[in-house]
């Protein structure tokens, strides 16, 4: 076991505020359409053990726009299917010449384990229910685009936090930059001990309370495929927590509505909210590219 290589991004929890702000500044300077070939001849392996649309494509576009060579390895159609272990897959990619590995994995902690056994940077593109740091960074990037500064902001995170790696990373990030965060949902999806994750978090079971005075509303999908024993009645959930245009009026007039996707129209939010003027959901996806360019450039030491 070794310390993860410099430039690795395994989670937000262990980042310092100035590293976060540095990455956001770097992302602001990135233009995917007019990118400098900072990563020419660098080999980036995209190792995906789980399905992904947004994250995978935006990491790939980010890498290629800076001149990197990318190799996509999926769990199906590779030796992983034959039972190769995670670490052996990592050693193999390293031996092929990878300079960096972007990994998405269903097991929490898998990217850390890989980073502790390799001498190249590892970027966590989502591990189980643990963290999704690049998503939190692109969300912060999106907030800054619309709100100019984190100072004094109030953010409401509503929905299935328990199963959400996006929510965990977002809580860490927003807490570190001094934002007040209200978590909202039923106890099955927002357990009492969720507030122990980071300083500055509070819980309410009432969406009206969460929305009042909010500058940013982050919605999360109910991850029905992961419920495993927890019982959620979707009708009840929608009655209490669905984001509607009516409820949106409780937030500040210039509040923005965010969602990491995939969205389920008619469940955690209505189509009117998705397509409404306060929604920045598509913008989040767009911001994924410059944010991930910044992450990759920093990881490979080409950030200046």
């Amino acid at each position: 076991m070794n310390k993860p290589a410099r430039g690795s991004l395994l989670g937000i929890e262990h980042l310092e505020e100035k590293e976060i702000l540095g990455l956001l500044r770097l992302a602001r300077g990135m233009n995917p359409l007019k990118a400098r070939p900072l990563l020419r001849n660098q080999r980036i392996a995209l190792l995906f053990y789980e399905a992904s649309t947004r994250t995978r494509s935006s990491f790939e576009v980010a890498a290629k726009s800076m001149g990197a060579i990318t190799v996509l390895v999926l769990s199906s159609g590779s030796s992983i299917e034959k039972g190769e272990s995670l670490l052996d897959t990592g050693y193999t990619l390293r031996a092929v010449g990878a300079d960096l590995i972007v990994i998405r994995h269903p097991s929490a902690g898998a990217p850390l384990m890989m980073a502790q056994h390799l001498d190249i940077p590892v970027i966590n593109a989502g591990d189980g229910m643990h963290e999704h740091p690049s998503q939190a960074l692109l969300d912060a990037f999106t907030i800054l685009k619309h709100k100019k500064s984190f100072q004094g902001l109030r953010v409401a995170i509503i929905g299935d936090l328990y199963h959400s790696r996006v929510a965990r990373s977002a809580c860490h990030l927003l807490s570190k930059v001094g934002v007040k965060v209200t978590l909202c949902g039923p106890p099955e999806l927002v357990p009492e001990f969720a507030t122990t994750l980071a300083p500055g978090l509070s819980i309410t079971r009432h969406i009206e309370e969460a929305l009042r005075g909010a500058d940013v509303i982050m919605l999360l999908r109910v991850q029905q495929e992961r419920l495993a024993g927890k019982k959620i009645h979707l009708q009840d959930y929608m009655a209490r927590y669905q984001m509607t245009t009516g409820r949106l009026k409780l937030a500040k007039r210039d509040a923005i509505v965010m969602h990491p996707g995939p969205i389920i129209r008619g469940l955690e939010l209505t189509s009117e909210v998705v397509d409404g003027p306060q929604s920045v959901i598509v913008d989040e996806v767009r911001n994924g590219v410059p944010t991930r360019m910044a992450i990759l450039a920093r990881a490979l030491g080409k950030a200046n």
Binding site: S85, A108, G109, T196
Partner: protein, 444 residues
């Protein structure tokens, strides 16, 4: 030399035990309420005499025990020695060598092997001297066929073959009707039913204690209710079924202890054991997905550990048991959620008890010795074990309660090294382990 060990050939039938006089030691035998400087004479494989210093003479061998505690041989009610079928993790030979090094003269083996020990033939196979056990081995057999929780095994035949209890350890007996039937049959035969208390309907894909740490790491949690609900149900059944005997394995939660106390107050025959890792570590010690801190039941909260410490001191807990669960590197050096549950424990249990329970929490040594001797002997009726009465088996554990040492997993006698205690500085060291009058382990 630190850690020097000599394991004499137990398997050599010519080396008959002669007599041995253990002189000058401080004898602690809770079953006889002895806690004083005494000499102990072992002869022909049994305890011949325990007397005030310098009253006994004329033994073939003398053991100078000045400054040491001399206790009845320690008993571990819960070990996984992995035979039959998983000898890449551990064998009876290697596992009992680890037991001897750790001060245990008797171990009770769990039946969740491959195949499961669910018939008399496998019980006999385990007890065959050809397996190479260097300490006393008492098999615990499966309570249901293939431990599937559906049909009871033949308790009477298993008992005749030498099983001291039945369990589906590793899994619970979930169905009320099956558990009731097991306790009933156990009651007829005076055979304890050991329960791994976990409502597995609540713990699907869970890998550690449910709380702030599991939430932070994004791991599914094993709630305290998953254990306590089953223990509450079982204690209620034990109260209803006359003469039934329930033993709660590796109890880890405050709520389960409440249920055990309720049963004991009602005079039901309910006993329980606690592991060294549960009285030593907390869920937060999992750190950043360290799989050597992954076991089932999981490390719990500070509140649970506090309750366990109280129960160890006040007599609610009957025994300390290791749940020694060896696993190969390839089963542990993988993703946390996929890694095997379990840690080794035979070589660290006694030192952890002395370091944590005695020195840190001021539990008297006599109580700790009881938790390793008279307590466990009572739980499974191991006659002639756990005490130094005249005629008892000449099983003796001798330890230095002051000695500081460093545990190194790499030097373990176990075939596996999956322990969270590698490199730990501990106080209290086993100096000699004597089984049937023979010195099996000797450290300076």
């Amino acid at each position: 030399m630190e850690g020097l060990t000599r394991i004499e050939a137990m398997t050599n039938p010519k080396s008959k035990p002669g007599s041995m006089l253990i002189k000058g030691g401080h004898v602690i035998d809770p079953s006889a309420r002895i806690d004083a400087l005494m000499d102990v004479l072992l002869r022909d494989g049994v305890v011949a005499e325990v007397a005030l210093p310098n009253k006994i003479r004329g033994a073939d061998d003398n053991f100078d025990a000045h400054g040491l505690i001399v206790a009845p041989g320690f008993i571990d009610l819960h070990v996984h020695l992995r035979e039959p079928g998983q000898s890449y993790k551990e064998t009876i030979r290697s596992g009992t060598a680890a037991a001897a090094a750790g001060g245990f003269t008797s171990v009770c083996t769990m039946p969740n092997t491959a195949p499961v020990v669910d018939n008399a033939e496998w019980v006999t196979w385990l007890r065959n001297p050809e397996r190479g056990a260097v300490v006393n081995l008492f098999p615990i057999a499966a309570a249901t066929l293939n431990s599937r929780g559906a049909a009871l095994t033949d308790f009477a035949a298993l008992q005749r073959a030498g099983a001291v209890a039945v369990t589906d350890d590793g899994k619970p007996i979930l169905e009320d009707e099956i558990m009731r039937a097991a306790l009933r049959l156990g009651a007829q035969l005076n055979l304890p039913v050991v329960q791994h208390a976990e409502d597995t309907r609540l713990t699907e894909n869970a890998s550690m204690h449910e709380g702030p740490t599991s939430f932070r790491l994004g791991l599914r949690g094993i709630s305290t209710a998953a254990e306590a609900n089953i223990v509450e149900r079982d204690v209620t059944l034990a109260q209803q079924i006359r003469e039934s005997r329930l033993h709660v394995a590796h109890l880890s939660t405050s709520d389960a202890l409440k249920a055990v106390r309720r049963g004991k107050r009602a005079k039901a025959r309910v006993t329980c054991e606690v592991t060294p890792h549960h009285f030593t570590l907390l869920d937060e010690d999992v750190g950043e997905y360290n799989t050597n801190f992954k076991m089932n039941p999981p490390l719990r909260s500070a509140t649970d550990r506090e309750a366990i410490l109280v129960a160890l001191a006040d007599g609610t807990v009957d025994a300390i048991a290791t749940d020694h669960a060896p696993h190969a590197t390839h089963e542990k050096e993988i993703e946390f959620e996929r890694a095997a549950f379990g840690i080794t424990g035979l070589e660290t249990a006694v030192a952890l008890a002395i370091t944590k329970l005695h020195r840190e929490h001021k539990i008297p040594l006599a109580r700790i010795v009881e938790l390793f001797t008279a307590g466990p002997a009572r739980v499974f009726d191991l006659r002639g074990r756990g005490s130094l009465a005249r005629g008892d088996h000449a099983d003796v554990t001798i330890f230095d309660p002051q000695k500081r040492w460093r545990f190194e997993a790499g030097k373990s006698r176990s075939l596996s090294h999956n322990t969270p205690f590698d490199g730990w500085q501990l106080t209290g060291k086993v100096v000699a382990t004597i089984v049937g009058g023979k010195m099996l382990h000797r450290a300076d």
